[in-house]
């Protein structure tokens, strides 16, 4: 009989590698990678020009301020202020339609009916998205670092290195979330849109409402966990719980005794990492479960 003598049973790891490689190639060929790169370069260019021209104190510090404080301010404003956006856009760009596209574009009909587990396809595509996103994140970090070294030669705070690692962990968790959404929907545009809306707006609103209005720590929110990326860049790591008085309500404390207070929670580093890792695991399981059951109808 033809066939079986001339081909070997391929291991799942090798198949994952194949899917990763060809999907990564597809990102490059489809110009998706270059569009994302252009966005990052544009953000970096704007920051470079603004800092160079206006020399804002939020970036370069006040005159006489210690360098160790000023340098943290620079990375906090330049990196901390934008890295979440970079992570969210990368996750949406590379992961938002990774699975839904197989259904909408019918490419799944070419790939799925082969001797390969769906989980291998899922993991392979996820790894391709992670590699592409990591390159984007690394480029953004490199430009920030180059600018930082220009203004503060030879001074790279250890907090920036940690912040980069936290941002990468956030990227891992965000990709897991966007892949889960991608498995849920059959339309690429809906899954991308839902991912962006959730990560950019919904979670932030939930964080604010939960902590400031209801007074509950938003431990269930991925963006709350990701707060450690910026918190680590502060001179003093912010306290876990902060209560801020915004003055008097109903005529002031003198008349009623009531004051308007805002509660702010800040995730500690272990807590933030825990939230991100749990998001990664839970969303990976949900995404895989959905993809395994989703039908090409």
């Amino acid at each position: 009989m033809s066939g079986s003598q001339t081909k070997a049973r391929v291991g799942t790891l090798a198949q994952i590698g194949t899917i990763t490689r060809y999907n990564f190639l597809n990102y490059f060929r489809a110009r998706r990678f270059y569009v994302m790169l252009a966005i990052i370069l544009l953000i970096s260019l704007l920051l470079t020009v603004v800092v160079g021209y206006y020399r804002p104190v939020s970036f370069l510090g006040l005159p006489g301020e210690p360098v160790s404080t000023a340098v943290l301010g620079f990375y906090g404003a330049g990196w901390g202020g934008f890295v979440s956006l970079v992570v969210i856009l990368s996750a949406a760009f590379f992961g938002g339609d990774a699975i839904s596209g197989e259904f909408q574009n019918r490419t799944g009909y070419f790939l799925v009916p082969n001797p390969i587990r769906r989980s291998a396809i899922y993991v392979g595509k996820w790894l391709a998205a992670l590699v592409a996103s990591t390159i984007i994140l690394a480029i953004f970090a490199a430009i920030t670092l180059a600018n930082g070294l220009y203004y503060f030669p030879g001074n790279v705070p250890w907090q920036f290195e940690q912040s980069f690692v936290f941002a990468w962990v956030y990227l891992v968790a965000a990709l897991s979330l966007t892949f889960a959404f991608s498995s849920l929907f059959k339309s690429s545009s809906i899954s991308i849109l839902m991912s962006v809306i959730l990560l950019l707006f919904v979670f932030s609103v939930v964080d604010t409402v939960s902590s400031a209005v209801v007074g509950i720590e938003p431990w269930f929110s991925i963006t709350y966990g990701a707060g450690i990326i910026t918190s680590i860049l502060m001179v003093q790591y912010p306290p876990h719980l902060q209560t801020q008085s915004l003055g008097s309500a109903l005529g002031g404390a003198n008349r009623t005794g009531a004051r308007f207070e805002i509660t702010t929670y800040n995730a500690t580093v272990p807590e933030g990492l825990e939230i991100l890792v749990v998001y990664f695991i839970v969303m990976a399981v949900i995404g895989l479960w959905l993809f395994e059951r989703k039908e090409f109808t």
Partner: protein, 310 residues
């Protein structure tokens, strides 16, 4: 091991609607089996269950004895598939797309280029092997899809309307390819009965998700097409009544109708005269017969078994 495909009480419901209902079908050996049925009969749904594109509601789809739902990787190890008209990543070239499948399917590295070149050559796409698939027409993509089924030297090939989107030449080339796969088990759905008659030895017909018949084309034709078949005989010159009368009197011939000046449609009883026997008898008349095309036996059987569409 003899290649086999088996549906055991295979059922698929979409909501409360049963698309495939308790289908039992066992196909074994190296042959081509046509899978026929009207639109919505459950052909594609059945094939999707055999290829892991959809799950079963109950029952099993077995390939070489392995349940696809339980272990798709093992079940499809020696099986190539073409379901509907798949799209290929638009940014890849046919060579790259087929390279990806070679890797997934375990074609040895040393043989990959040769296999890809051969497969693309068979579907006449060599010239386009380094162009991006995104610029291809539907027919060109389908040629690459057909090529993808030839890569890993599979024992079993499942084809769902492989000629879809192809021009007449492409259809003819696909028929030639399927015909050349004689040492494999080919399970092919099609609405083109002439195509099935030409390339398949057996047919399975389903309607409303249930198997109506599975047998050799000859048996199905003789059982359900009024006990015989039809051949269209072409002549080099105008056929006169004398020739027509001589054919009418041949054993097993039920009727002879004039299709046009140079063609006769001969209806015969296959229990009395075989197709090759009839061919020899007509050629023996030396009346200028130049073509002999098997006619509508399968179509008659189909129409007698399947009374309505949808």
């Amino acid at each position: 091991m003899t290649p086999s495909i088996e549906a055991v009480q295979l059922t698929k419901n979409f909501g409360s609607f049963p698309t495939v209902s308790g289908l039992n079908l066992k196909i074994q050996g190296t042959k081509c089996v046509g899978f026929l049925g009207p639109n919505g009969a459950g052909k594609t749904t059945t094939m999707k269950m055999f290829t892991g594109l959809i799950g079963t509601s109950s029952g099993s789809a077995l390939i070489n004895g392995v349940d696809v739902e339980k272990d798709k990787k093992a079940a499809l190890a020696s099986c190539a598939t073409l379901i509907e008209t798949p799209e290929i990543y638009a940014s890849l070239t046919p060579k790259e797309a087929l390279g990806m499948l070679c890797e997934i399917r375990g074609v040895p590295r040393s043989e990959r280029n040769k296999r890809i070149d051969e497969a693309l050559g068979r579907v006449k796409m060599t010239e386009w092997e380094k162009k991006k698939v995104g610029s291809f027409s539907k027919g060109m993509k389908q040629r690459v899809n057909v090529a993808s089924t030839l890569l890993s030297d599979p024992e079993i090939i499942i084809l769902d309307e492989p000629s879809t989107g192809l021009d007449p030449r492409g259809m003819s080339e696909v028929r030639d390819i399927v015909r050349s796969l004689g040492d494999r088990l080919v399970f092919m759905s099609s609405h083109l009965l002439a195509e099935v008659t030409e390339v398949c030895q057996e047919v399975a017909m389903i309607d409303h998700g249930k198997l109506l018949v599975y047998d050799s084309i000859e048996n199905v034709t003789s059982k359900f097409a009024g006990g015989g078949g039809t051949v269209e005989v072409g002549f080099a010159r105008e056929v006169d009544d004398q020739v027509r009368a001589k054919i009418s009197r041949m054993p097993g011939v039920k009727s002879v109708a004039k299709s046009n000046d140079r063609h006769l449609s001969v209806s015969f009883d296959s229990k009395v005269v075989s197709l090759d026997g009839l061919f020899e008898s007509i050629a023996g008349l030396k009346a200028g017969a130049v073509s002999f095309e098997q006619g509508k036996g399968l179509e008659d059987a189909y129409l007698s078994l399947i009374k309505e569409t949808l």
